[in-house]
Symmetry: C2
Subunit: 285 residues, 2 copies
Amino acid sequence: MVPLLEEIRDVRSAVASARREGKIVGLVPTMGALHAGHARLIERCRAESGFVVVSIFVNPTQFGPNEDYQRYPRTIENDLNVCRDAGADLIFAPSVSTMYPRGASSTFVEVPGLSEKLEGASRPGHFRGVATVVLKLFEIVRPDLAFFGEKDYQQLLVIRRMVDDLNVPVEIRPVPTVREEDGLALSSRNRYLDPDQRRAARVLSQALQRAKQAVADGERSADRVRQILRERIELEGWANLDYAEVADAETLDPATEVGAGLRAVALLAVRFGTTRLIDNAILSG
Amino acid sequence: MVPLLEEIRDVRSAVASARREGKIVGLVPTMGALHAGHARLIERCRAESGFVVVSIFVNPTQFGPNEDYQRYPRTIENDLNVCRDAGADLIFAPSVSTMYPRGASSTFVEVPGLSEKLEGASRPGHFRGVATVVLKLFEIVRPDLAFFGEKDYQQLLVIRRMVDDLNVPVEIRPVPTVREEDGLALSSRNRYLDPDQRRAARVLSQALQRAKQAVADGERSADRVRQILRERIELEGWANLDYAEVADAETLDPATEVGAGLRAVALLAVRFGTTRLIDNAILSG
């Protein structure tokens, strides 16, 4: 089995050994409940790194008070198998008190500009929690490379911005979203869906496909693309739209135009009962 | 002369060379205008490190809008001599645009609890600026050791808290305050004082001495020690008291008692005309 370490000093010691052997160190930060999307991240890390660290930590500070921190799936036995099969060298699974010994009043990292929009507007404090825990993981592991899924597109931008602004010497590698056969992006939260909701959840990737097709067919108005996204989702009775946005793919500022050398991204958040799913697609540029 | 580098990549490359030679890397972050207090920091760094980096950067984000950022002394020729004489191996003196290429909307670090008190109350945003620039310098240099003066006592606590909370693997070494013969703590801002203000400025160390003496003589009431500090400063016509506090030496929460196993610190901020000076003394523990 892949060694599972809970203590920071043990991780540092293992990473230091790998470094002495001249190995490139790669990190895949996760919240566990690993699926084939995570496996892809680990495999990509394996391909580029001599030493592959997977962190498994359900980070309380990125959940809002009414969110699913308590019921977030914990599947450590399966996670160990996924890590082994995908080629991890070490799993770091700290306790909450190891990561936050001083509790909620700890030092935090804020990435202004990107953090307040979209997911940040729906989930206040979410990206502060993400940025802070990822920086802590970077300081604990000090990886050369770190791998993040494009499924969490805004998170990827926030992490990149943080690393740039704070001069953290780690290369951020984005990894394409892995999807079910019907297009649903893999997510640890998909397991919350009942059969009706699971069928309905196809609407995210379907709406994004329609938007991409419209842009490929020459649509230039971001507002009309937003309308295409909204209309497709509103057709699905089990779906409740949180947001459907077309934004600049770097700043996430709302776009007015798409295509013609403008990098635009469509971003969706949709609720199915109490389960909230997100997805995105690059539209142009 | 000591090499002076302005670019982050050049500093990283020089530090990487030192590391390959197995050297311990020490950092002394400064805002320039170096005096014998800084020299002491550099000498202490020299004694413990194989490679001594001094950063010189007047950090705009730690100055308030009505503070002395523009007129803060820049004395680079003298600074180079101080660095050479004290044994620095490398000076990192970046431009503002090198440190903040995206301007004021950059990612920041906040150390709640400690940052709002005392200096933070008088200088809103000050410690956010300090914590952020110090973390950036730590990420650029990745030192094993970093040296900070006890003169800026609250800053020392903020940096230690940040490093603990964010798991930054750097050892913070405090260095005792260097004083003039009459007791005035060395500060780059002392040069702003006119002769009357300079004489009056002795009142900081004198007040602290009286407070220490009172505690040594058995005083246990923090309020009475505060009164001793205030009364001594109010005797000095050129001095305007900003704050005189007696606080827990770790949390900076106001103390009710001193002595008897309680670690207490006295902290002063006093204005002389437009010049604001700070000083402190450990009272007990």
